[in-house]
Symmetry: C2
Subunit: 279 residues, 2 copies
């Protein structure tokens, strides 16, 4: 292999430059990145005009990022990379509740509420009871599990997206299980909503013939001493977008049955048991 560039050995030439004192994992990651990047360019015979377009796309994507907007995370979501990284790092045995993406709207420090409380503070939408149990793999209840839950409101926005419109902590709360491992709280029935699609990533989505919607879901982070943390959603069964979530967050096992209630102010009930595995 020459130390000068050749098309055939392009990735080897680049990777041979990595210095002997380079941190080992960085060398491993960057070598693999270069090999796959060059294989991609060769496989599709990337043109100069396409390279120009890619540079322009990445530049606009970076320049749209701000404290309130992370366009590169959207790009990763849209390409399925966010879900893949989540999957690689959270493999669990059959029967354990699966992870899905955290998403950009989690906020630390939501109020700890009594079981049964209503997390919906703006009164919008239909009422839904969320209930179920936190269990271990043997079906035993997990006492002292903490559920951190959050969702969009009935208009499809999280409180942090509308700080001047929604009450603080709207559709957010934390709950601690008792000895029975049972949880129950009320909230607005979640609604499907589009991810921000007015930037370069939304334009790409549109060019690919894809819509920007996520199916309706409730977010959960469940932590319990001695158990692996589960970061996940429950998805509203029957939602139009279950098979076409713009960020690929849906897993079959996370679709929660929802049933209509009668004779109560609460119109819906969503039941889901979470199964934790040891840390």
């Amino acid at each position: 292999m020459t130390q000068h560039f050749t098309e055939a050995a392009s990735d080897e030439t680049v990777n041979a430059r990595i210095g002997p004192h380079t941190e080992r994992r960085l060398a491993e990651v960057m070598s693999s990145l270069v090999t796959h990047l060059h294989a991609f360019a060769k496989d599709i015979q990337l043109t100069q005009a396409e390279w120009d377009a890619a540079i322009d796309f990445l530049t606009r994507t970076g320049q749209l990022c701000s404290a309130e907007r992370q366009e590169f995370v959207l790009l990763s979501d849209e390409l399925g990379l966010s879900m893949l990284v989540d999957a690689i790092n959270n493999r669990r045995p059959a029967g354990a509740t699966e992870n899905t993406v955290l998403g950009p709207f989690h906020v630390d420090g939501a109020p700890v509420l009594e079981m049964g409380s209503d997390i919906c503070l703006d009164g919008k939408g239909e009422r839904c009871l969320f209930e179920g149990a936190i269990l271990d793999l043997h079906g035993n209840p997990v006492e002292g599990a903490r559920l951190d839950v959050w969702s969009d409101n009935a208009d499809g926005f999280y409180d942090v997206q509308q700080p001047d419109v929604q009450p603080k902590w709207n559709n957010r709360g934390r709950f601690i299980t008792g000895a029975d491992g049972y949880y129950h709280f009320h909230g607005a029935k979640p609604t499907s909503y589009p991810i921000p699609d007015d930037g370069p990533v939304g334009a790409l989505l549109s060019q690919l013939g894809r819509h920007p919607y996520r199916p309706a879901h409730m977010h959960f982070i469940i932590t319990a001493s001695g158990y692996q943390t589960v970061t996940t959603h429950t998805f509203v069964d029957g939602d139009t977008y279950l098979k076409s979530d713009a960020v690929f967050g849906v897993k079959q096992s996370l679709i929660a049955p929802i049933e209509r209630l009668t004779g109560t102010d609460t119109q819906w009930r969503s039941r889901f048991n979470f199964v934790l595995i040891p840390a």
Copy 2:
């Protein structure tokens, strides 16, 4: 294959979403990108912390881009992608002059000068005569070939990098060959220089144990009616960085012999013949 996300079929799930009316080439490019991107993440078992670092790196790279600075082009250069795209799109038969990267410092519209003129306007550095012939594959001279040439000054900066310091069009010019196909002009002997390394891309280069230097070179774009345009450099033989050009621009065939002259104000002579192929 399920339409819901699974780790095993992650790229297929994403690519199955591409709509039926998507422009064919875009679908091809994006499918290949997703497949290679997912294979990369799987091969190295990308961690959540590494994904976080990648998002942060790309964001900072985008935010450093401006009218004067293109950090994503630097990234592409540093990863050898720019050279690879140039190679894929400019394959030529043996004997023809090879391309190398255009670089970010070309300016359209440099003055057309008489053969023999000195393009160095700031008087800095040692004088060098650049000479040779523009030939076809059979060794016949090409009449009416236009050479667009540019280089850094003796301090290692292009005029556009120092608009308040260097004269306009310093170390730039265009020349047209006569019937003999011969070219000759004077300029400063080029010097090696670092690519901008005070941003995220420079930091990565440093973490990889690489230096930011390019070996000394003169840029050429050679156009002639009926021939393929050649965008290339000649590299100064003997330069310290010939085997470690930060952007991988060096090809063995582009290293030009340079010889010291005596008894003249011009201290150096760089000889190089360019061989064009039909358009």
